[in-house]
Amino acid sequence: MKRFWSFVIKEFYHIFRDRKTLLILFGLPVTLILIFGYVIRSEIKDANIAIYDPSKDEITKDISNKLLASDYFNLVENVQNIQEIDDIFKKGVVREIIVFESDFARKLEQNGEASIQLIADASDANTANLVVNYTRAIIFDYMNELNRNNPNPLQILAEPRMVYNEEMKGAYMFVPGTMALILMLVSALMTSISIVREKEMGTMEVLLVSPLKPAQIILGKVTPYVTLSLINAVTIILLGYFVFGVPIHGSVFLLLAECMLFILLALSLGLLISTLTSSQRAAMFISLFSLMLPTILLSGFIFPVENMPEILQWLSVIVPPKYFIIIIKDIMLKGVGMSFVWKETLVLIGMTTIFILLSIRKFKIRLD
């Protein structure tokens, strides 16, 4: 046992002596959380628009002013010639051009209707869609104002209530997501690389002939990363709580236990990767492509999984962070207990077991 601990301490020295890595290890989660918290906004703000207004009457000016008075839009130019639209879009600044029909106010007064065309640059499809929806909403508001004197005689009013996140904070999404990403990064990626490094440098053989058992060697290698991962998880939870007001409605103990489970899962994945590869480079690329990108994209971190095509939804079933993120959200935001998350927890335990068994088998084959 004493031998084992001295080995663990050696591994800690390795990590702590490398100041640059350590700095990033703790800097990365903080930076990510801050980027998500303060930089990434999926709603529209100051979207650049251009207006083509041949009418220039009271109504069109009113509508333009109403659009620009909102925070959503920013007028870049007044289009003089409708032929210029393509050129304007090609410069890549303007996202939407609002085209009023001529004689707008007169047509509205005489015929009871007038038309506006919204032309959006859909080379950024998501943003184009949002910009058009926002514009429509403002124009509809204006229309309702115009008709205020004769209100709709029959009206069902929608009364939305945002459950679990009344202020619609983005942090409720990115705090759990970042946690999954960072734990994956530190536990899986770092572990696989540090084990493969010993192989590549030939020091693994030295360790294997030492009186340490293989299991002890592996445990010794992963213990520091478990510690670092836990510190990271707690940092993220605290940042979420104090800076972005992400609540912890459920049991803190359960939350940490689930984090621990996910860390184990990530470690077993890292272990498996390290048994499959012989160079750090290969370990790194396998981890990056098979763990990092799916964690970012398939686990519902940024884009909700429900929207993805069926095949991807099936694929997301084997992406471990998906379950972790569900569990974390349920515990923190909905305040539910084990009785609600047992299924996901079971899946994670099952995956961990499979990965560990697979790596033990691989390891043994290599030794034979």
Binding site: I40, S123, R136, M162, N165, Y172, S194, F289, P304
Partner: protein
């Protein structure tokens, strides 16, 4: 020049002799591209709904049917008990509760208006916003419908109507795949180029072979060029390969001049690979270099506006993007492929990345020490 050729020859032999390298360079990224392109949609379909209808009148049933008929919503269940519906929300079995009060129809026709409560799971604020927008627009449609239906019950009124038509240029069907593909492609090309370059140099340090190089009369710039060019070529090749796949499988438009695109990619890669080399000059292990590169890479990607509009970011963040090569390339790639923008439209981006590339490479050459 001849010296550089010798280094290039050696690097290419090493890259292609390694059996894991070819799959890493060509197969893995492309599989990823094919899968990930599908993920990045904000389009919502099949939002799961539970209806609490305590009225069970004709109007309430019609409203429910209207939701069921929409492609955005799927009715997962109906109940009279709000508590039960809330449980479904908690268990992730539904994301929206439509709560219709028991006096719904009578109140509508008696008072002219009635409230319907929508409870939306807002943990994902973006998705909740969209759910709300879709639901509200269905209810608005329904309002129009009941007015025409009940025309004999109430007096029609003259309303002023503004018709809003919208058209989406360059991507009329809002196909998010052709919008995401250029972005994902940039991510993959960057990972391959930047990480492989950075790892390659540090690997020589770790293996000790760099010392043997350092006692030779090789020039610093020759060594850096020898380390840079192979992955620069590979990354450009990867871009071409990815574009071909995108064209064949997703039929992505290629409106612009591809020569301009590749010229830009060439400069972009010089900047990114130069940055990778710079990182590796002050790192001593592959683990370290990978981690530092990953940090920069992730920050660049997240801030670049690949998933979200850049204008929505705070001012300071937009300023930070001036030094984000990734943001330039994402923008240029999309503009060139989807809109056909030409060289003149990118002149500022060309200039900015040109300066970036020179700076990054000079830093790498300067920081690479043959002597300690």
């Amino acid at each position: 020049m001849r010296t550089i050729l010798f280094i290039l020859q050696k690097e290419f032999i090493q890259i292609f002799r390694n059996k894991t390298m070819l799959p890493i360079i060509f197969i893995m990224p492309l599989v990823q591209m094919l899968v990930l392109v599908y993920t990045a949609t904000l389009e919502m379909k099949n939002i799961e709904v539970v209806v609490v209808d305590r009225d069970l009148s004709q109007t309430s049933r019609e409203l429910t049917a209207k939701f069921d008929g929409s492609e955005f919503f799927i009715i997962r269940g109906s109940t009279f008990d709000l508590k039960e519906a809330e449980d479904m929300l908690r268990e992730n079995k539904a994301d929206l509760i439509i709560n219709i009060p028991d006096d719904f129809e009578r109140q509508l026709f008696r008072e002219g208006n009635v409230k319907v409560q929508l409870q939306i799971n807002a943990i994902n604020a973006t998705a909740a916003g969209l759910t709300n927008a879709y639901a509200t627009s269905i209810i608005a449609d329904f309002n129009r419908h009941i007015i025409t239906e009940s025309i004999n019950m109430v007096k029609p009124v003259q309303m002023k109507k503004i018709n809003v038509a919208s058209s989406f240029w360059y991507n009329p069907e809002l196909n998010y795949k052709i919008y995401m593909l250029p972005g994902i492609l940039v991510i993959l090309v960057t990972i391959i180029g930047m990480f492989l370059t950075a790892l390659n140099l540090v690997r020589e340090k770790e293996m000790g072979t760099i010392e043997q190089i350092n006692v030779t009369p090789i020039k610093k710039y020759q060594f850096i060029a020898g380390k840079l060019i192979p992955f620069w070529i590979i990354a450009l090749f990867e871009l071409a390969f990815g574009l071909t796949i995108g064209k064949v499988i997703f039929d992505i438009p290629m409106e612009g001049n591809l020569l301009v695109l590749f010229a830009f990619a060439a400069i972009y890669l010089l900047a990114m690979l130069g940055l990778g080399l710079f990182i590796s000059t002050f790192s001593s292990t592959q683990q370290q270099v990978m981690f530092i590169a990953f940090f920069f890479f992730l920050t660049f990607v997240m801030m670049s506006g690949i998933f979200t509009p850049v204008e929505s970011m705070p001012e300071w963040a937009q300023k930070v993007n001036v030094v984000n090569p990734f943001a330039y390339f994402i923008k240029v790639n999309r503009m060139n492929l989807l809109k056909g923008s030409g060289f003149w439209d990118f002149r500022q981006e060309f200039l900015a990345l040109g300066i970036y590339a020179i700076a990054a490479l000079s830093l790498a050459v300067w920081k690479y020490r043959k002597v300690v």
